[in-house]
Symmetry: C2
Subunit: 352 residues, 2 copies
């Protein structure tokens, strides 16, 4: 792809730019023209990109401490307070510069400030580019679980600058890779090839972004198809909760995808061959149940899962690599507790 920039409009009215050298690209400026601009960036990126970007756009700069522990209602309240202190109006553009924590948190703040101000996302990690920044979900974590408070709010534009991935750590690369493979498992088998690429090719990154965008476009409010994106996350989120978010999201999702693939296999939907292929896809990941793990804690965390209905835990299941089971347009189903227990047995025997 090199210098070529792919642009497209994704649901409902977000312009998406994917390419290289986007931070200094002329296409960025029109979004900031005539609007006061505030850049909110991960503090770790201040010297690397944020200071230069805010100077270039004549914008105010606010930084937030790195890490998932920043993604709280308290940090959101602090950011809102800073925007009031800066006397920002409804015509202020917020730019989020950072990983998924930053895009989720700043998106949340943008949706609440004066009932919504214009928003632009510049994801700086693979995870944020292919997942967090796409689809309008914003949110913060609570002691009861991840993303349990949030909104659906769409940015004016997303600038996915692939050059920013050069400085990524291996852990960060795996976080993004886990989401690409997950999308491969439920929707587009070709994406699973990303597991064998290092770094992941521009072509597959673009394909992952477009794949997620097309799912969101068909079901923005997650009443149906969009639920498939939660594959691996029912158990993955529970693992993060019991570990108090000290486990990397990609590692939790990798473990969750394996466990929920096992569940799909155990329930008779997924063949042994496909299950074996899936275990191979995650072989690069550190696969270890986190400190603080307990089955009871996980089951408790899952009772607050957002897919839950009428008090029962529901799972997304797959019947082959690249295809989630539709279950009459629900794209998830209630699973007997005994099957969940068997899945935990399997997971503990392998990864404890």
């Amino acid at each position: 792809m090199e210098k070529k920039i792919e642009t497209t409009v994704i649901a409902p009215s977000t312009q998406l730019f994917v390419g290289r050298s986007l931070l200094t690209d002329e296409r960025l400026r029109p979004f900031c023209a005539a609007l006061r601009t505030v850049v909110i960036a991960d503090a770790a990126l201040e010297q690397l990109y944020a200071a230069a970007l805010s100077k270039q756009l004549q914008a105010d700069l606010i930084t937030i401490p790195s890490g998932e522990t920043s993604k709280t209602p308290q940090t959101a309240a602090l950011l809102l307070e800073k925007l009031f202190q800066l006397e920002c109006g409804r015509d202020t553009l917020l730019i989020a510069l950072g990983g998924g924590v930053t895009t989720d948190l700043v998106g949340f703040v943008a949706s609440l400030y004066m009932r919504g101000v214009p928003l632009l996302l510049i994801p700086t990690t693979l995870l944020a580019m292919v997942d967090a920044a796409i689809g309008g979900k914003t949110g913060v974590d609570t002691p009861y679980g991840k993303n349990l408070i949030g909104t659906l709010y769409y940015p004016k534009a997303i600038f996915a600058d692939l050059d920013l991935l050069n400085s990524l750590s291996e852990r960060e690369r795996l976080n993004g890779l886990a989401e690409i493979i997950k999308l491969g498992l439920v929707y587009d088998a070709a994406l699973c090839n990303a597991a064998h690429q290092s770094p992941v090719s521009d072509v597959l990154i673009l394909q992952a972004i477009q794949g997620k965008a097309s799912i969101v476009e068909r079901d923005p409010k997650e009443h149906s198809l969009r639920r498939i994106l939660n594959f691996g996350h029912t158990i993955g989120h529970a693992l993060e909760a019991v570990a108090h978010y000290t486990i990397a999201h990609g590692e939790a999702v990798a473990l969750g995808c394996l466990a929920e693939s096992y569940l799909s296999h155990h329930l008779g939907y997924l063949s042994s061959a496909d299950f074996a292929q899936i275990t191979e896809l995650f072989r690069l990941f550190p696969l270890k149940l986190p400190k603080g793990y307990s089955r009871k804690g996980c089951l408790q965390a899952m009772t607050l899962d957002k897919k839950r209905a009428a008090g029962e835990i529901r799972f997304v299941l797959i019947d082959k690599v690249g295809h989630a089971l539709p279950f009459d347009h629900n794209y998830c189903t209630v699973v007997p507790l005994s099957a969940v227990e068997t899945t935990f047995d399997w997971m503990e025997s392998r990864f404890l």
Copy 2:
């Protein structure tokens, strides 16, 4: 209207029921069927309606202290915490029972909990029926001003039971009346007849609700026409802010409508005859600038007004009773500071 119930669908997908004896009407139950239900009510209504309603619907009941001082991010956080403690899922229906404070606050909470749970509004005051409950605006107040944090979120249904108005205080009646007259001034002159009715007739209440609903339908996100609903509120909100919300909303809006009518007249848009007619409409209202009033404080509060653009204060103006000036589809305009000062001179000379 008596026993007859008017039902209609308002933007984007809210069912509206206006009539009598609605709290026990069979049309309420289908919304709660198959969903866990939590009623969140103004504490003052617990014995009057809330306990019976939640029993009838087999719902949990949470009460919130009466008054605008409850409409804060802190109360919203407490309500979210209670919903987590009750282990509510995304399939929990929230029912707001109360005045505008309750419908705004519970709407805000419903929009945030797990990124949005189904919501039903039962406004119990004239103000909430004709204004707060209609149009999807949710919000909480901050020390910087009213409703500065909020979302746009639409309920599944609104039940406006006119029987609930029988127990309303005179102050509450005037709060609603001020909004009906305001809507009359900017949109539908016939509504101004409400000023001469006590109590306001069912027919005019329905007409006010439908008037506001039709404006919201044409411009849900307040990019254009919907701004006319802010008439009287630029100054009205500032008065509430300097009085720390101890002045009744209706009194602040009455003063604001008078001041902004004076401004429209002073700028040459509104005739002396129409201005005289407008002063007559508000003669039942206690028209006194609140304790804590200062011109400087008001001007400062107005700089955070949500209509503000590029740092300038903008006003909705009228050119006759029943018509707001379109100003090239902006429905508001920047006004010279000298004209604002003159308006404050006039207001202070009459109402200080």
